[in-house]
Amino acid sequence: MTAYRSILEMIGNTPLVDVSPLSPNPGVSIFVKLEGQNPGGSVKDRPALAMIEDAEASGLLRPGATLLEPTSGNTGIGLAMVCRVKGYHLKVVLPSNVSPERRQLLELWGAEIIESPGSEGSNGAVRRARVLAAEHPEWVFLYQYGNPANPRAHYEGTAPEIWRDCPGITHFVAGLGTSGTLLGVGRFLKERDPAIQIWAVEPPAGEMVDGLRNLDDGYIPPIFSELGGEELLDRKTIVGPRDSILWTRRLTDLGIFAGISAGAALAGAVKCAASIERGVIVFVAADGGWKYLSTGAWTGDLDEVVERAKKTIYF
Protein backbone atom coordinates (compact mmCIF):
# COMPACT_ATOMS: atom_id res chain seq x y z
CA MET A 1 0.00 0.00 0.00
CA THR A 2 1.28 3.46 -0.87
CA ALA A 3 -0.27 6.38 0.92
CA TYR A 4 0.80 9.53 2.73
CA ARG A 5 0.08 9.20 6.44
CA SER A 6 -0.86 12.86 6.59
CA ILE A 7 -1.53 15.65 4.13
CA LEU A 8 1.40 17.45 5.76
CA GLU A 9 3.79 14.97 4.15
CA MET A 10 2.79 16.37 0.79
CA ILE A 11 4.27 19.76 1.57
CA GLY A 12 7.22 20.48 -0.71
CA ASN A 13 8.63 18.46 -3.60
CA THR A 14 6.89 20.67 -6.09
CA PRO A 15 7.40 20.32 -9.84
CA LEU A 16 9.51 22.40 -12.19
CA VAL A 17 7.97 23.12 -15.59
CA ASP A 18 9.72 24.43 -18.70
CA VAL A 19 8.14 27.71 -19.86
CA SER A 20 10.90 28.65 -22.31
CA PRO A 21 8.38 29.41 -25.06
CA LEU A 22 7.77 32.58 -23.03
CA SER A 23 11.45 33.56 -23.03
CA PRO A 24 12.25 36.66 -25.13
CA ASN A 25 15.77 35.34 -25.69
CA PRO A 26 16.49 32.07 -27.52
CA GLY A 27 19.68 31.70 -25.49
CA VAL A 28 17.84 31.68 -22.19
CA SER A 29 15.55 28.96 -20.84
CA ILE A 30 12.98 29.71 -18.17
CA PHE A 31 11.49 27.24 -15.70
CA VAL A 32 8.72 27.78 -13.18
CA LYS A 33 8.54 26.04 -9.81
CA LEU A 34 4.86 25.44 -9.13
CA GLU A 35 4.41 26.06 -5.42
CA GLY A 36 0.65 26.12 -5.87
CA GLN A 37 0.92 22.33 -5.85
CA ASN A 38 1.44 22.36 -2.10
CA PRO A 39 -1.58 20.97 -0.22
CA GLY A 40 -2.45 24.31 1.41
CA GLY A 41 -2.16 25.96 -1.99
CA SER A 42 1.03 27.98 -1.70
CA VAL A 43 4.74 28.12 -1.04
CA LYS A 44 3.87 29.26 2.47
CA ASP A 45 3.00 25.72 3.51
CA ARG A 46 6.76 25.22 3.80
CA PRO A 47 7.60 27.94 6.34
CA ALA A 48 4.26 27.37 8.09
CA LEU A 49 5.11 23.73 8.84
CA ALA A 50 8.76 24.55 9.57
CA MET A 51 7.97 27.32 12.06
CA ILE A 52 5.41 25.16 13.85
CA GLU A 53 7.68 22.10 14.00
CA ASP A 54 10.53 24.30 15.21
CA ALA A 55 8.31 25.71 17.97
CA GLU A 56 7.19 22.20 18.95
CA ALA A 57 10.79 21.01 19.15
CA SER A 58 11.78 23.90 21.38
CA GLY A 59 8.80 23.43 23.67
CA LEU A 60 7.30 26.78 22.74
CA LEU A 61 4.16 25.13 21.39
CA ARG A 62 2.11 22.98 23.73
CA PRO A 63 -0.90 20.86 22.68
CA GLY A 64 -3.98 23.02 22.12
CA ALA A 65 -1.93 26.25 22.08
CA THR A 66 -3.12 29.48 20.46
CA LEU A 67 -0.99 31.09 17.75
CA LEU A 68 -1.09 34.69 16.46
CA GLU A 69 0.26 35.83 13.11
CA PRO A 70 0.09 38.95 10.88
CA THR A 71 -0.47 37.75 7.35
CA SER A 72 -2.31 38.91 4.25
CA GLY A 73 -3.13 35.44 3.26
CA ASN A 74 -0.93 32.59 2.21
CA THR A 75 1.00 32.20 5.45
CA GLY A 76 -2.22 32.39 7.38
CA ILE A 77 -3.76 29.76 5.16
CA GLY A 78 -0.74 27.48 5.48
CA LEU A 79 -0.62 27.93 9.25
CA ALA A 80 -4.38 27.45 9.52
CA MET A 81 -4.22 24.13 7.69
CA VAL A 82 -1.29 22.87 9.74
CA CYS A 83 -2.91 24.08 12.97
CA ARG A 84 -6.15 22.30 12.10
CA VAL A 85 -4.35 19.03 11.50
CA LYS A 86 -2.25 19.38 14.66
CA GLY A 87 -4.99 20.73 16.95
CA TYR A 88 -3.76 24.30 17.55
CA HIS A 89 -5.88 27.47 17.47
CA LEU A 90 -4.86 30.28 15.13
CA LYS A 91 -5.64 34.02 15.24
CA VAL A 92 -4.71 35.87 12.07
CA VAL A 93 -4.25 39.66 11.82
CA LEU A 94 -5.32 40.44 8.29
CA PRO A 95 -5.55 43.70 6.29
CA SER A 96 -9.19 44.28 5.44
CA ASN A 97 -8.60 44.55 1.69
CA VAL A 98 -7.45 41.03 0.91
CA SER A 99 -9.33 39.08 -1.74
CA PRO A 100 -12.47 37.30 -0.40
CA GLU A 101 -11.11 33.86 -1.19
CA ARG A 102 -8.27 34.35 1.27
CA ARG A 103 -10.71 35.20 4.02
CA GLN A 104 -12.86 32.17 3.20
CA LEU A 105 -9.91 29.80 3.23
CA LEU A 106 -8.81 31.05 6.63
CA GLU A 107 -12.30 30.58 8.01
CA LEU A 108 -12.74 27.08 6.62
CA TRP A 109 -9.53 26.00 8.33
CA GLY A 110 -10.92 27.40 11.57
CA ALA A 111 -8.73 30.49 11.97
CA GLU A 112 -10.05 33.57 13.78
CA ILE A 113 -9.59 36.77 11.74
CA ILE A 114 -8.63 40.07 13.38
CA GLU A 115 -8.73 42.91 10.87
CA SER A 116 -6.19 45.68 10.40
CA PRO A 117 -6.84 48.74 8.16
CA GLY A 118 -6.50 47.92 4.45
CA SER A 119 -4.85 51.29 3.83
CA GLU A 120 -2.00 50.30 6.15
CA GLY A 121 -1.26 47.10 4.25
CA SER A 122 1.02 44.52 5.73
CA ASN A 123 2.86 47.12 7.86
CA GLY A 124 -0.40 47.76 9.67
CA ALA A 125 -1.03 44.06 10.25
CA VAL A 126 2.44 43.61 11.71
CA ARG A 127 1.97 46.63 13.97
CA ARG A 128 -1.39 45.40 15.26
CA ALA A 129 -0.06 41.87 15.78
CA ARG A 130 2.89 43.13 17.80
CA VAL A 131 0.55 45.07 20.10
CA LEU A 132 -1.69 42.03 20.56
CA ALA A 133 1.29 39.74 21.18
CA ALA A 134 2.51 42.06 23.93
CA GLU A 135 -0.96 42.05 25.49
CA HIS A 136 -1.24 38.25 25.26
CA PRO A 137 2.09 36.63 26.10
CA GLU A 138 0.32 33.28 26.33
CA TRP A 139 -0.29 33.32 22.58
CA VAL A 140 2.54 32.03 20.44
CA PHE A 141 3.71 34.62 17.93
CA LEU A 142 5.74 32.78 15.33
CA TYR A 143 6.42 36.04 13.42
CA GLN A 144 7.24 34.92 9.90
CA TYR A 145 9.11 38.17 9.24
CA GLY A 146 11.60 37.44 12.01
CA ASN A 147 11.65 33.67 12.33
CA PRO A 148 14.77 31.92 10.97
CA ALA A 149 12.74 28.72 10.48
CA ASN A 150 11.12 30.56 7.56
CA PRO A 151 14.24 30.93 5.36
CA ARG A 152 15.49 27.61 6.71
CA ALA A 153 12.44 25.87 5.22
CA HIS A 154 13.56 27.13 1.83
CA TYR A 155 17.22 26.38 2.42
CA GLU A 156 16.34 22.80 3.35
CA GLY A 157 13.41 22.23 0.99
CA THR A 158 12.82 24.57 -1.93
CA ALA A 159 16.51 25.05 -2.69
CA PRO A 160 17.75 21.44 -2.84
CA GLU A 161 14.76 20.60 -5.04
CA ILE A 162 15.74 23.34 -7.48
CA TRP A 163 19.38 22.25 -7.43
CA ARG A 164 18.38 18.63 -8.02
CA ASP A 165 15.93 19.44 -10.83
CA CYS A 166 17.92 22.21 -12.52
CA PRO A 167 21.64 21.91 -11.83
CA GLY A 168 22.47 24.34 -14.67
CA ILE A 169 20.59 27.21 -13.05
CA THR A 170 22.18 30.63 -13.56
CA HIS A 171 19.46 32.93 -12.20
CA PHE A 172 16.76 32.58 -9.55
CA VAL A 173 13.81 34.98 -9.51
CA ALA A 174 11.18 35.20 -6.79
CA GLY A 175 8.81 37.62 -5.16
CA LEU A 176 10.06 39.48 -2.12
CA GLY A 177 7.65 39.23 0.78
CA THR A 178 9.14 38.19 4.08
CA SER A 179 12.32 37.46 2.07
CA GLY A 180 12.31 33.84 3.29
CA THR A 181 12.37 32.27 -0.18
CA LEU A 182 15.07 34.55 -1.56
CA LEU A 183 17.27 34.21 1.53
CA GLY A 184 16.95 30.44 1.86
CA VAL A 185 17.21 29.56 -1.82
CA GLY A 186 19.74 32.32 -2.49
CA ARG A 187 22.12 31.17 0.20
CA PHE A 188 21.90 27.51 -0.84
CA LEU A 189 22.48 28.24 -4.52
CA LYS A 190 25.37 30.65 -4.00
CA GLU A 191 27.07 28.16 -1.69
CA ARG A 192 27.15 25.75 -4.61
CA ASP A 193 27.86 28.30 -7.35
CA PRO A 194 28.65 31.88 -6.29
CA ALA A 195 27.99 33.06 -9.84
CA ILE A 196 24.27 32.29 -9.60
CA GLN A 197 22.30 35.52 -9.55
CA ILE A 198 19.38 36.11 -7.20
CA TRP A 199 16.72 38.57 -8.39
CA ALA A 200 13.89 39.85 -6.28
CA VAL A 201 10.62 41.16 -7.62
CA GLU A 202 8.30 43.34 -5.55
CA PRO A 203 4.98 45.10 -5.98
CA PRO A 204 4.90 48.92 -6.01
CA ALA A 205 4.63 50.19 -2.42
CA GLY A 206 3.32 53.73 -2.55
CA GLU A 207 -0.42 53.32 -2.97
CA MET A 208 -0.82 50.82 -0.17
CA VAL A 209 0.84 52.79 2.55
CA ASP A 210 -1.11 55.97 3.03
CA GLY A 211 -1.19 55.10 6.70
CA LEU A 212 2.53 55.86 6.91
CA ARG A 213 3.10 59.03 8.91
CA ASN A 214 6.73 59.41 7.99
CA LEU A 215 9.48 57.38 6.42
CA ASP A 216 10.67 56.21 9.84
CA ASP A 217 7.51 54.10 9.94
CA GLY A 218 9.11 51.95 7.25
CA TYR A 219 9.79 48.30 7.79
CA ILE A 220 12.44 45.80 6.81
CA PRO A 221 11.82 42.16 7.75
CA PRO A 222 14.25 41.28 10.54
CA ILE A 223 15.33 38.09 8.78
CA PHE A 224 16.35 40.16 5.76
CA SER A 225 18.65 42.34 7.86
CA GLU A 226 19.94 39.54 10.07
CA LEU A 227 20.71 37.11 7.27
CA GLY A 228 22.43 39.61 4.96
CA GLY A 229 19.64 40.05 2.43
CA GLU A 230 21.14 43.17 0.92
CA GLU A 231 24.47 41.42 0.28
CA LEU A 232 22.76 38.33 -1.10
CA LEU A 233 20.41 39.89 -3.64
CA ASP A 234 21.80 40.89 -7.02
CA ARG A 235 18.80 42.80 -8.27
CA LYS A 236 15.47 44.08 -6.97
CA THR A 237 12.81 45.24 -9.38
CA ILE A 238 9.30 46.59 -9.04
CA VAL A 239 6.68 44.89 -11.20
CA GLY A 240 3.33 46.66 -11.27
CA PRO A 241 -0.14 45.14 -11.45
CA ARG A 242 -0.48 45.58 -15.21
CA ASP A 243 2.63 43.58 -16.09
CA SER A 244 1.87 41.05 -13.35
CA ILE A 245 -1.57 40.36 -14.77
CA LEU A 246 -0.40 40.32 -18.39
CA TRP A 247 2.23 37.70 -17.64
CA THR A 248 -0.11 35.68 -15.44
CA ARG A 249 -2.39 35.52 -18.46
CA ARG A 250 0.51 34.43 -20.68
CA LEU A 251 1.11 31.44 -18.43
CA THR A 252 -2.30 30.09 -19.35
CA ASP A 253 -1.01 29.76 -22.93
CA LEU A 254 1.10 26.94 -21.54
CA GLY A 255 -1.72 25.51 -19.47
CA ILE A 256 -0.47 27.03 -16.23
CA PHE A 257 -3.00 28.65 -13.90
CA ALA A 258 -0.97 30.61 -11.36
CA GLY A 259 -1.52 33.51 -8.98
CA ILE A 260 -0.81 37.12 -9.87
CA SER A 261 2.51 37.26 -8.06
CA ALA A 262 3.65 34.44 -10.36
CA GLY A 263 3.03 36.81 -13.26
CA ALA A 264 5.17 39.38 -11.49
CA ALA A 265 7.98 36.87 -10.99
CA LEU A 266 7.69 35.82 -14.64
CA ALA A 267 7.89 39.47 -15.69
CA GLY A 268 11.12 39.64 -13.68
CA ALA A 269 12.41 36.46 -15.31
CA VAL A 270 11.64 37.88 -18.76
CA LYS A 271 13.44 41.14 -17.92
CA CYS A 272 16.37 39.06 -16.73
CA ALA A 273 16.35 36.93 -19.89
CA ALA A 274 16.39 40.04 -22.07
CA SER A 275 19.40 41.41 -20.20
CA ILE A 276 21.73 38.41 -20.60
CA GLU A 277 23.15 36.42 -23.51
CA ARG A 278 22.68 32.90 -22.24
CA GLY A 279 21.21 31.47 -19.08
CA VAL A 280 18.84 29.18 -17.22
CA ILE A 281 16.32 31.02 -15.08
CA VAL A 282 14.10 29.44 -12.44
CA PHE A 283 11.29 31.53 -11.00
CA VAL A 284 8.71 30.76 -8.34
CA ALA A 285 4.96 30.68 -8.88
CA ALA A 286 3.98 31.10 -5.26
CA ASP A 287 0.42 29.92 -5.66
CA GLY A 288 -2.31 28.92 -8.09
CA GLY A 289 -4.85 31.31 -9.60
CA TRP A 290 -7.82 30.07 -7.59
CA LYS A 291 -7.80 32.76 -4.92
CA TYR A 292 -7.77 35.52 -7.53
CA LEU A 293 -10.69 34.48 -9.74
CA SER A 294 -12.87 37.13 -8.14
CA THR A 295 -10.48 39.82 -9.41
CA GLY A 296 -11.38 38.95 -13.02
CA ALA A 297 -7.65 38.94 -13.76
CA TRP A 298 -7.95 36.45 -16.63
CA THR A 299 -11.22 37.32 -18.26
CA GLY A 300 -12.05 40.86 -17.17
CA ASP A 301 -11.29 44.17 -18.87
CA LEU A 302 -7.59 44.71 -18.27
CA ASP A 303 -7.82 48.40 -17.28
CA GLU A 304 -10.60 47.71 -14.79
CA VAL A 305 -8.77 44.73 -13.34
CA VAL A 306 -5.56 46.72 -12.97
CA GLU A 307 -7.40 49.52 -11.16
CA ARG A 308 -8.98 47.04 -8.76
CA ALA A 309 -5.67 45.25 -8.25
CA LYS A 310 -4.09 48.48 -7.04
CA LYS A 311 -6.47 48.43 -4.10
CA THR A 312 -6.28 44.74 -3.26
CA ILE A 313 -3.38 42.76 -1.93
CA TYR A 314 -2.53 40.21 -4.59
CA PHE A 315 1.20 39.82 -4.23
Binding site: K44, P70, T71, S72, G73, N74, T75, V98, G121, S122, N123, A125, V126, Q144, Y145, G175, L176, G177, T178, S179, E202, P203, P204, A205, G206, M208, V209, D210, L212, R213, N214, L215, D216, D217, G218, Y219, I220, P221, E230, L233, D234, R235, K236, T237, I238, V239, G240, S261, I313, Y314, F315
Partner: protein
Amino acid sequence: MSVAIRLPTVLRPAASGQSVVNVDGETIGQVLERLQQTYPAIAGQVLTQEGSLHRFVNVYVNDDDVRYLDKLDTKVAPDDVVSILPAVAGGAS
Protein backbone atom coordinates in the same frame (compact mmCIF):
# COMPACT_ATOMS: atom_id res chain seq x y z
CA MET B 1 20.16 67.12 -17.02
CA SER B 2 16.73 66.95 -15.56
CA VAL B 3 15.08 63.76 -14.37
CA ALA B 4 11.60 63.17 -13.03
CA ILE B 5 11.35 62.03 -9.42
CA ARG B 6 8.18 60.42 -8.15
CA LEU B 7 7.64 61.20 -4.51
CA PRO B 8 5.90 58.96 -2.01
CA THR B 9 2.69 60.30 -0.48
CA VAL B 10 4.43 61.05 2.79
CA LEU B 11 6.93 63.49 1.16
CA ARG B 12 4.50 65.35 -1.10
CA PRO B 13 3.52 67.99 1.46
CA ALA B 14 7.20 68.98 1.65
CA ALA B 15 7.17 69.56 -2.12
CA SER B 16 4.05 71.74 -2.13
CA GLY B 17 1.86 68.73 -2.77
CA GLN B 18 3.55 67.69 -5.99
CA SER B 19 3.81 63.97 -6.69
CA VAL B 20 6.44 64.38 -9.42
CA VAL B 21 9.24 66.95 -9.41
CA ASN B 22 12.08 67.57 -11.85
CA VAL B 23 15.61 67.77 -10.54
CA ASP B 24 19.04 68.09 -12.19
CA GLY B 25 21.75 65.52 -11.74
CA GLU B 26 23.87 62.86 -13.42
CA THR B 27 23.78 60.33 -10.60
CA ILE B 28 21.21 59.32 -8.01
CA GLY B 29 23.35 60.88 -5.29
CA GLN B 30 23.39 64.25 -7.07
CA VAL B 31 19.70 64.10 -7.83
CA LEU B 32 18.77 63.34 -4.21
CA GLU B 33 21.04 66.07 -2.86
CA ARG B 34 19.48 68.58 -5.25
CA LEU B 35 16.04 67.38 -4.20
CA GLN B 36 16.78 67.98 -0.54
CA GLN B 37 18.28 71.41 -1.34
CA THR B 38 15.25 72.42 -3.41
CA TYR B 39 12.77 71.19 -0.79
CA PRO B 40 14.45 71.70 2.58
CA ALA B 41 11.62 69.96 4.44
CA ILE B 42 12.78 66.72 2.81
CA ALA B 43 16.32 67.11 4.17
CA GLY B 44 17.38 64.16 6.31
CA GLN B 45 14.46 61.99 5.23
CA VAL B 46 15.89 60.46 2.07
CA LEU B 47 19.61 61.04 2.55
CA THR B 48 20.88 61.07 6.12
CA GLN B 49 23.08 63.82 7.57
CA GLU B 50 26.09 61.77 6.51
CA GLY B 51 24.85 61.64 2.92
CA SER B 52 23.88 57.98 2.79
CA LEU B 53 20.51 56.55 1.87
CA HIS B 54 18.04 56.31 4.77
CA ARG B 55 17.63 52.63 5.62
CA PHE B 56 13.82 52.67 5.34
CA VAL B 57 13.85 54.42 1.98
CA ASN B 58 14.12 52.68 -1.37
CA VAL B 59 15.10 54.56 -4.50
CA TYR B 60 14.44 53.12 -7.95
CA VAL B 61 15.61 54.05 -11.42
CA ASN B 62 13.02 52.77 -13.88
CA ASP B 63 11.77 50.29 -11.28
CA ASP B 64 15.25 48.92 -10.39
CA ASP B 65 16.33 49.41 -6.77
CA VAL B 66 19.58 51.41 -6.86
CA ARG B 67 20.96 49.51 -3.88
CA TYR B 68 21.49 46.65 -6.32
CA LEU B 69 22.79 48.81 -9.18
CA ASP B 70 25.48 51.34 -8.27
CA LYS B 71 23.80 52.77 -5.18
CA LEU B 72 24.18 56.55 -5.03
CA ASP B 73 26.59 56.41 -7.98
CA THR B 74 23.90 54.95 -10.22
CA LYS B 75 23.77 57.06 -13.36
CA VAL B 76 20.56 58.65 -14.53
CA ALA B 77 19.56 59.68 -18.05
CA PRO B 78 16.97 62.30 -19.08
CA ASP B 79 14.22 59.78 -19.81
CA ASP B 80 14.70 57.85 -16.60
CA VAL B 81 12.04 57.87 -13.92
CA VAL B 82 13.32 57.93 -10.36
CA SER B 83 10.94 56.71 -7.66
CA ILE B 84 11.32 57.15 -3.93
CA LEU B 85 9.32 54.67 -1.91
CA PRO B 86 9.18 53.66 1.73
CA ALA B 87 10.35 50.19 2.76
CA VAL B 88 7.27 48.15 3.61
CA ALA B 89 6.43 44.73 4.94
CA GLY B 90 6.52 42.43 1.99
CA GLY B 91 3.49 41.98 -0.14
CA ALA B 92 0.93 39.41 0.80
CA SER B 93 2.92 36.99 2.88
